[in-house]
Homo-oligomer: 205 residues x 2
DNA sequence: CGTCGGACCGAGCGAGCGTTCGGTAGCCTC
DNA sequence: GAGGCTACCGAACGCTCGCTCGGTCCGACG
């Protein structure tokens, strides 16, 4: 082991060019978003990927494994982006908050289907995967709580309850995945900037 | 017709004593929250209500009719409460915003299962009911947008995009239904007050 | 040239699904 | 006390579900 918490080259957390998801999972994401996990049959999944049902089972052990792969990818992608955003902010607490919220909003706009599933299909995961997903969600939440707590301790922010404020900010960003429209009047970048502003105002002295 | 947009006695929108939902629907809400609409069978629904499957079909025409009754009740209850809150606020714009957000947060805390379903099971509704639910959601959103727009026009608030700010506030409150715990350290009333504060800060001059 | 393994498919398995049929038990009315 | 109503239930219908069996095709390798 080499202590891998500081990768040599950090990802560009603002880059959403293409999602490296294999085509089968990409079509599965869209189908699950439209009808939900239990509302989608393996036949529908196979048809969406231009494949037979056994063809699908060649790549994944079960329908459950498909949703698990999607959810894991979502949580991993968000975590790596927000980790990179924190690194970019350095020790400036205001900047840490701004970039974290910007990162959250960008993710929920650019990866809206993925983010929607991550928020919606928790209950469709079997116990092991569910526990893992909850842990990832909690770790993600803790990152923002820590920013708010440190900022409050150093007098940069005024927050009565950092955990509650973090939840308000996170669910505010989560909501973006429900209504964002790439063809709409607001770009993801504009929304992210506005949301960073909302977060700042919530904690302003 | 007597012009019924001003009922003689308005409901007390802060009172959440008991939900007037019949027992069958009450148990259905909990089961749907746990497993989702498509993840719940009519046999499970019947067992949760201590009933046989035909017994369940005596009260509702179909499984779909059960979810529709629940969703309609949720949207109607929220609408009547926020309507009453607006009436209580009178013409004071700051108060309109405060009470509206307080009402939203209270609803999503006290009726967390109901609110969770309303936000989550839209895609499980068949076209007619779905259209009705979307219309109700839009009407609900428009109410807050109007408050923000009027407040901005009168110089009470500073909001670049009322629609976007309204969505941020609404999804912030929607999130309460995902993590609120009646046995937790924060009461619904405390949360509602904090959230009204967040909303105020977002639009503050 | 042979055979090996990855990528896939048609057909079908048992289980569970939403729904319905033909009842029964208890109560109220005339 | 006959008839009708509400509130149910056991059994089963036709269908779809997740999943698997026993293949075929095809490019890579020796």
């Amino acid at each position: 082991m080499t202590g891998d918490d500081e990768p040599a080259t950090r990802m560009n957390w603002r880059d959403f060019e293409k999602d490296p998801l294999p085509p089968l999972l990409r079509t599965a994401v869209q189908t699950f978003v439209a009808h939900g996990y239990h509302g989608t049959s393996t036949r529908t999944l196979a048809a969406a990927a231009n494949m037979s049902v056994p063809g699908l089972y060649h790549h994944f052990a079960s329908k459950q494994a498909i949703i698990v792969a999607i959810m894991d990818h979502a949580m991993d992608d968000l975590w790596r982006r927000s980790d990179a955003a924190l690194a970019e902010a350095g020790s400036d607490l205001d900047q840490q908050l701004r970039l974290h919220v910007e990162c959250l909003a960008l993710f929920h706009a650019h990866r809206k289907e993925l983010a929607f599933l991550a928020a919606t299909e928790l209950r469709s995961l079997e116990p092991v995967a569910r526990a893992r997903h909850i842990a990832a969600r909690d770790r993600q939440e803790r990152m923002l709580v820590e920013i708010l707590r440190t900022g409050t301790a150093h007098g940069a922010f005024v927050v009565a309850d950092p955990r509650q404020a973090a939840r308000a900010m996170i669910t505010m960003c989560t909501g973006v995945s429900q209504w964002f429209d790439a063809a709409g009047p607001l770009s993801a970048a504009q929304i992210a900037e506005d949301y960073a502003g909302y977060a700042e105002r919530i904690v302003r002295r």
